[in-house]
Symmetry: C2
Subunit: 621 residues, 2 copies
């Protein structure tokens, strides 16, 4: 490997902006670095592990907010409009990383950078413009307090470019709601872990990007081949194309995967009212997509009074339909669309928002919270108005919204009175809207994933079969699937493999909806970069990244005891298909320890073995 040379797929440049110092620098990265960490989540793990001290305040100037593309970002084919954002999470104190699509990542790369590291804290609100290699820090006083739509519109006018792409926060980010997200355009969030709060803590309202440099690649013909393959295999993503992710609502309710009323219940008989097909037939006015994508799974909706929404904010994804819908006992589709609009306008993660509201609702029904706490709000499950009101209050940190803006774990701690029993989180991250009682691999993933109960873990039990990704496991020596409800050693091995693949997907990065096999992606990486790389090397890279994230969390004081599911899942649901099903605590503890062993971590403590760290070539920390 030639040191210094930069392969296709990379600009070889990381932009570092210190907002305390008003300092803008460009750093070079070399080929060996790119090949080892790939990009996306890999770069983020590297910089956060290397540059952050232990126990920095995630909302203080010492935290760093990192935007990173990867070798596949910006390729003109479906699925490659991705970038990853990371920081120490103010919600969990673990490492946070979250991905987004839209056009922002592709523009950043076309503007000449592979990533941006934001340090320090601006003295007053600012935004950053990155236009074809030119970088500027600009005043954002007039944008502070504005919605994402107002912010994007204003910046586009100021920069005199309707096609400039804006990553930004609304009021929730400014108010440092611990699960504020970063919006890219008006309906693409890097949602999880409170990255928007970190952005707000730095007085950074937005980063606007625009570029014109097409990505370098060594064998561009591979892109056309992949496009042709997708056209021939588009049936594999037909459900997404037809209905978006909301197409899963009804089958998920039937199988028991759909959380109902804070994961307490199983039946949601009116699910058809809020599912993708209904959306299509009633309120949908179009579909939209990310850069270069022909799947176009993003719904655009139009509703009437009293829940009139601005179509520019898009429609709710599956996670949002379940989070603000069934998990709050709500089946009013237009109201959910309104809630989605509010979250996107204020930059709130819909999953954690819905989880916090559902938590509050169950506490209210249990008498742990009363109208005295809620300022008169009747927080029973199913109260549509209360749900919408709470979103506003959370974003603005008003009344009980200020408490719920801390996330379920901190809120439950503050409330006391046994509220923690109803806080559906792992390490402080609200559970994604997928049921571990049904999918044990997902449950194990919730336990051990470095960021907590991530929604991308859902793939481990379901989509990979649909998408033929079992084929990717053959090179790992895995020949067969394992039943969803099995949490024995074979499932753990399968989980570890899938988890590695998903982390790999976040390093390249690539959209998890597309039906490409990881072998195809490795071949594409080879074609783009010119490396003689393959899936095995890339999985190893991804496992290195997972171990680095583990090390980050261990440095923050996390350990084996934090890798645990809420106790609710060791009891059955009240009704529905899983009313007789609960998880076995001991089996999950064993599975967790075996996962540690497979990762080369101490099976008792979950701490990576020194030999494993050395072998993976993880730098001294």
């Amino acid at each position: 490997m030639e040191t210094g040379k930069i392969p296709g797929g990379y600009n070889g440049k990381i932009l570092r902006i210190n907002l305390s110092m008003n300092n803008i620098t460009t750093e070079e990265i070399d080929e060996s670095f790119c090949r080892k960490y790939l990009g996306g989540a890999g770069f983020i793990a590297y910089y956060l592990l290397k540059e952050l001290r232990a126990h920095v305040d995630p909302l203080g100037p010492e935290n760093k907010l990192i935007f990173s593309t990867g070798p596949l970002t910006g390729i003109k084919a479906s699925g490659f409009a991705r970038h990853c954002i990371g920081a120490k999470s103010p919600l969990t104190n673990t490492i946070a990383k979250s991905e987004a699509g839209e056009f922002w990542g592709s523009e950043l790369k076309a503007a000449g950078f592979d990533g941006v590291i934001i340090e320090g804290k601006a003295a007053k609100p600012v935004y950053i413009s990155i236009i074809d290699g030119q970088v500027a820090i600009k005043d954002a006083a007039h944008l502070w307090g504005k919605t994402t739509k107002e912010t994007q519109d204003t910046i586009r006018v100021e920069l005199d470019d309707k096609r400039v792409r804006v990553g930004m926060i609304g009021a929730a980010g400014e108010n440092m709601v611990r699960y504020a997200c970063i919006m890219h355009g008006l309906y693409d969030a890097a949602g999880r872990g409170g990255l928007g709060a970190v952005m707000g803590s730095k007085n950074l309202k937005a980063i606007a990007v625009r570029g014109h440099k097409p990505p370098d690649m060594v064998r561009p013909e591979a892109v056309k081949e992949l496009r042709d393959w997708l056209v021939a295999n588009i049936a594999k993503v037909k459900l997404f194309q037809d209905f978006g992710s909301g197409g899963y609502m009804t089958p998920y309710e039937a199988s028991g995967n759909l959380p109902v009323r804070n994961f307490r219940d199983g039946l949601f008989p009116t699910v058809a009212a809020i599912e993708g097909k209904t959306i299509k037939e009633t309120i949908r006015i179009g579909m939209d997509g990310c850069f270069g994508c022909l799947v176009r799974c993003k719904k655009v909706v139009k509703t009437g009074d009293p829940y009139n929404v601005q179509p520019e904010y898009g429609g709710p994804e599956y996670e949002t339909l379940a989070a603000l819908g069934s998990n709050c006992g709500i089946d009013n589709l237009a109201a959910i669309c309104k809630g989605n609009e509010l979250c996107n306008a204020y930059s709130l993660d819909t999953i954690s928002t819905g989880g916090s509201i559902a938590f509050a609702m169950e506490c209210f029904e249990k008498g742990i919270l009363t109208t005295k706490d809620t300022g008169g709000l009747d927080l029973r499950f199913g109260n549509t108005e209360a749900m919408l009101k709470l979103i506003e209050m959370i974003a603005k940190r008003e009344g009980i919204g200020d408490l719920l803006a801390e996330g379920t774990a901190i809120a439950a701690e503050k409330i006391g009175k046994g509220a923690m029993e109803y806080a559906m989180h792992v390490k402080g991250l609200e559970l994604a809207l997928h049921e571990p009682r049904l999918k044990t691999g997902l449950g194990l993933g919730y336990m051990v994933d470095p960021i907590g109960a991530d929604h991308c873990l859902n793939l481990h039990d379901t989509l990979f079969v649909m998408n033929g990704q079992m084929n990717d496991l053959h090179p790992l020596g895995l020949l067969e699937g394992v039943p969803a409800d099995d949490i024995g050693p074979k499932k753990v091995v399968l989980f570890k493999a899938m988890h590695g693949l998903r982390m790999l997907g976040d390093c390249l990065p690539v959209c998890m909806i597309l039906p490409f096999s990881y072998k195809q992606l490795a071949d594409l990486t080879a074609a783009v970069t010119g490396w003689d790389t393959d899936i095995a090397e890339q999985i190893r890279n991804a496992e290195t990244v997972l171990t680095m994230m583990r090390l980050f969390n261990i440095r923050e004081g996390f350990g084996e005891a934090d890798d645990k599911l809420p106790m609710r899942f060791f009891q059955p649901k009240t009704d529905g298909i899983l009313s007789k099903t609960h998880l076995d605590y001991e089996k999950f503890e064993k599975a967790k320890r075996f996962y540690y062993a497979l990762m080369g971590w101490n099976p008792e403590t979950g701490i990576p073995l020194p030999e494993k760290i050395e072998e993976l070539g993880i730098p001294q920390i």
Copy 2:
């Protein structure tokens, strides 16, 4: 996978012969069994783990002696004339397995069987004939005490077939010398672990095989392709073709790999007198090879008085040249050839024989053994006559030969007086003739290999680079070699991969000299069997087999404390290139534990984790 169906490459039949009962049965094996255990060492690990109780006397009727072919045995191309033999070792009490070439395995397969399991003990000496599916137990009273040549000649006359192939023992096997081997023809030994003693303990003199059924294969054209590839790449094995394994003597002495005087010394200035080139130029009268092989690495030699040898016994391999030569301080080539002839005639493993003699010589020089013990023999290093005399005495268990016939570990225990310091063994198996002070991967292999200090472990640091097998490691995510003297985590990972590949080679089985990549071998297996298999699946199978062998040993009471090198290696040699080099005890202990972790074994105890056992699908024992 269709149960019951037998894929190409297998007969689907295991022959089981109980010599106590005079009972001959045939058992069927099915496709799932074949795919999981492959054959060779895999079948042996399965049957020994399943069928042997703990702590049976390895020289009693309860031990079982298993001959096994694999899917590639008998393919008409270089390297596939292999079979594997296993039993509980009378030398070590661990599992024993050892491979041989020649024509025997190919004939067994052509006779309609994939393997033979020998049980019980015959009331009087017998031999077994297996001719085209017909099996008979025959009287061998007249063969008892005969040399291998006499035995083979007689059996061929009796069976009226000059091309019958004979696996057999000489006096050493009959006398249950704990490191007696099983000879196939007159110069192909399944050498290690005392399998010949097990055969002798069963009163079984020989197994004669002959068959005419060509092996089934699904895509026979793959064999021609591989042959063509080898012809085009024959330069990769030129040293073997020109000089046999003896070609390595001089470069090994120069690099420090050649053991001198019981691993004590480093310099052997007269090495040129006993190396492959000298053999070629002085005493070699031809080269011979195994079934189907164009490398033909087996030397045939002719010497004059006083060390006149019968050319039918072949010439010494590298291990023999070093074991009876440099490691005993002997540089008389003809005498080494004579020693080689004696070992082959009596069925003695030349490695353990040389190791035992070198041990006795060092004890003698240290005064731990005296002429009183040796019956007057002057056992100083370099005494050629003493070396030859001891071979006879060991084979016949005469005088001190009876003690040395127990192997160095038991002999040292019996001698006491600090003799153990000079016993160069791991778990009782005498060290192969490769220097762990030079090659740390080899050293780790000596420690953890299930059979002890095996010579095949040599490949882990050297040949695989020559043979381009580093390419095989790329699919495992390994990109680069590690220096020979490094025993850090990267070397452990590399070792684990190589060790798995080598065990895979013993399952297929295939000769380790051939320069095929394991990907080529996996593709060939797929072509032969029709399975959609690949290297990753096969490595997983091999690691399953390694774990089963580990479980066998643990059942016998072995544990982490037995995985250790002789203390000599933590001190430098007296002279030569390694006179300043010694191994670091703590580093090796760490490496051992990390290897356990990588295997899914408890890092402290080396016991396979229950979850790993379950995940690999190893049957309950």
